[in-house]
Amino acid sequence: MTLLRPAGEFDESYASDMATIRRPWQWVALGLFLAAIYLLPSYASQNTIALVNRIAISVIAVQGLNLLTGYTGQISLGQAAFMTVGGYTSALLMIHMEWSLFVTLPLSALAAGVVGLIFGLPSLRVKGFYLTMSTLAAQFIIPWFTRNAFPDLLNGAQGLNVPVPVLFGVAINSPQRFLYLTITILIITTVVASNAARSRLGRAFVSIRDNDLAAELLGVNLYKYKLQAFFLASVYAGIAGALSAHYLRHINSESFGLADSIILLGMLIVGGLGTNLGPFLGAALVEFLIELATLAGPFLGKIAPSTAAGAVQALRPLFFGAALMLFLIFEPKGLAHRWQLIKAAWRLRPFSH
């Protein structure tokens, strides 16, 4: 979305033409931002750090969904189910094989990717709404499988207690230490996602989204790219699921349910479909809203005691549903689009266009 660039700014080499970060001050800003995030444990409260961890994990899952839904246009209601696959895989490998996270994380991503491919298979024949239904099937079949299959291994509905990962001799057992892990992985996934989106792969994805028949006539192999999109999205979900399982130290069939899949899609819409910034803004805003509901719940309980018991559980879907509906009606292109408009307005000041 480099629609508007200041007058006089030209690319003088291929390297600068391809660069994501163009100006020296952008490197400085990025460095300062990363420093602020990495230094959070030294100045922020426990709650803030937990919130940042949750946001980072959500961003990873939404980035994957963005590749599938935002760029390729295949609507998925099963992202949370693939997180379940990733979480269980990493937990099982660490419990039974005692492998390090360096090995279990890629393997759990791969496992989720393969399962994602299986449920992406109907995309060979159906699209749009029908495909949504097949991903919805994944959202029911996978948790059911973890509840009922291999009771000795998966421990049925109780789920598994997930071990603490140890990296370089340090046990990652507190939200503070986990922050370094999640942010580092988030940086890697962001670089991969943004590069995938602007390469041959990403262009093929966008052409499928915009008009799949035209894309096929132009020689884009629909099946190959659709399956690649499913695979990539599930890989991201697997990473997010594994991180989440190690962070919460427990996983069962209800850790990532249909509501979570809906929330991930909602984050994507609120942030902005098909943009690199969208997953960050959307995940942050929605996690803030959920946090707000958690804080407002007990308060509401004081005003109207009859509702106290379920207030928090009630407010979360209420806030999220209301926010998503408002966004769909008034800001359907999401926060990333609004950010582009603000930037453009700033550059063109004092003119309006």
Partner: protein, 306 residues
């Protein structure tokens, strides 16, 4: 396979397909007229049923009056939803519309939890639970005829559900409004240009979907009690809709019965793993339908042009 229980589970599975067909009907009603697949149907059903419960138990009204008021209220709720949330989405891409109904579902679920709390409730019984119907079948097992025991509410839910589906099919076939709605489903702009009021048609279909949802919810609640998870039961109706074909009203009966039957048949298995699979059978059927015949049994096959 547990042969002794097979006839029992076959029949009760088929009967359970009745309410599934009714819930599927609510989805088809909206899809037929407006091409919106309503993921919030479950929450519509939940709110209607909770309202019936509140009128009948909280305000101690007679059950029939409570049901009538709740049906009227859910029609109004359906109208309101169409006007406030889906009218602004006209002409938006599929993803936005799917997400709108999903968001609406989340919102209504939160609303129901906030207003009514999450406790399990006993719904007033309409049919006596004490005297189940007994059918003696000609099949012989261990030198005795196999008996099928059917709970009254299961049988009557089935009858009411099928009656509802037939009534609505007749409405589409024989009334002026019904014909207008079918016409509108062919092409919205064309319908508008020959003088059908498209907004009113969408409104009517949402109101009808609200009513159908409440009827389905009340039927389910009489047999299995009422809690917030009742909204999830509609998810078993999604595969029924796809199996029958998205636009087809007779399709929902066939789809509902097949889904109910598939759940009944796996319940008769002697292997626990297969028995437990009853809850996901609808989705297994769904995956098979999507891979083999995506347009369903009676749906329209669409031809695409660039």
């Amino acid at each position: 396979m547990n042969w002794q229980l097979l006839p029992q589970f076959t029949i009760s599975g088929l009967l359970a397909g009745g309410p599934i067909a009714l819930m599927a009907l609510g989805l088809v009603l909206i899809f037929k007229s407006s091409y919106i697949f309503n993921f919030a149907q479950g929450q519509l059903l939940l709110l209607g049923t909770l309202l019936t419960w509140w009128l009948a138990v909280g305000l101690a009204l007679p059950l029939w009056l409570a049901i009538v008021i709740a049906l009227a209220a859910s029609a109004v709720l359906g109208l309101l939803i169409e006007r406030l949330t889906l009218r602004p989405m006209t002409g938006q891409p599929l993803l936005s519309i799917i997400l709108m109904t999903l968001a609406l579902g989340q919102f209504l679920q939160g609303m129901a939890l906030l207003l009514f709390g999450g406790t399990q409730r006993n719904f007033p019984q309409m049919f006596s639970a004490a005297n189940p119907y007994k059918i003696v079948t000609p099949f012989i097992y261990n030198e005795r005829n196999i008996q099928i025991i059917l709970k009254q509410n299961l049988v009557w839910s089935f009858v009411v559900a099928i009656l509802g589906v037939v009534l609505i099919a007749a409405f589409f076939r024989f009334t002026r409004t019904g014909l207008a709605m079918r016409g509108a489903s062919e092409d919205h702009e064309l319908a508008q240009s020959i003088g059908l009021r498209i907004n009113r048609i969408f409104g009517i279909s949402w109101a009808m979907a609200g009513v159908v949802a409440t009827v389905g919810g009340v039927l389910l609640a009489t047999s299995s009690g009422l809690d917030l998870n009742i909204s999830l039961l509609v998810l078993t109706a999604f595969p029924a809709v796809l199996l029958g074909g998205l636009e087809s009203i007779p399709g929902v009966i066939v789809g509902g019965l097949i889904i109910g039957l598939s759940q009944g048949l796996v319940s008769a298995s002697t292997v626990q793993f297969i028995r437990n699979s009853a809850e996901i059978m609808p989705y297994v059927v769904l995956m098979i339908v999507l891979l083999i015949r995506p347009e369903g049994l009676f749906g329209l096959k669409r031809i695409e042009r660039i």
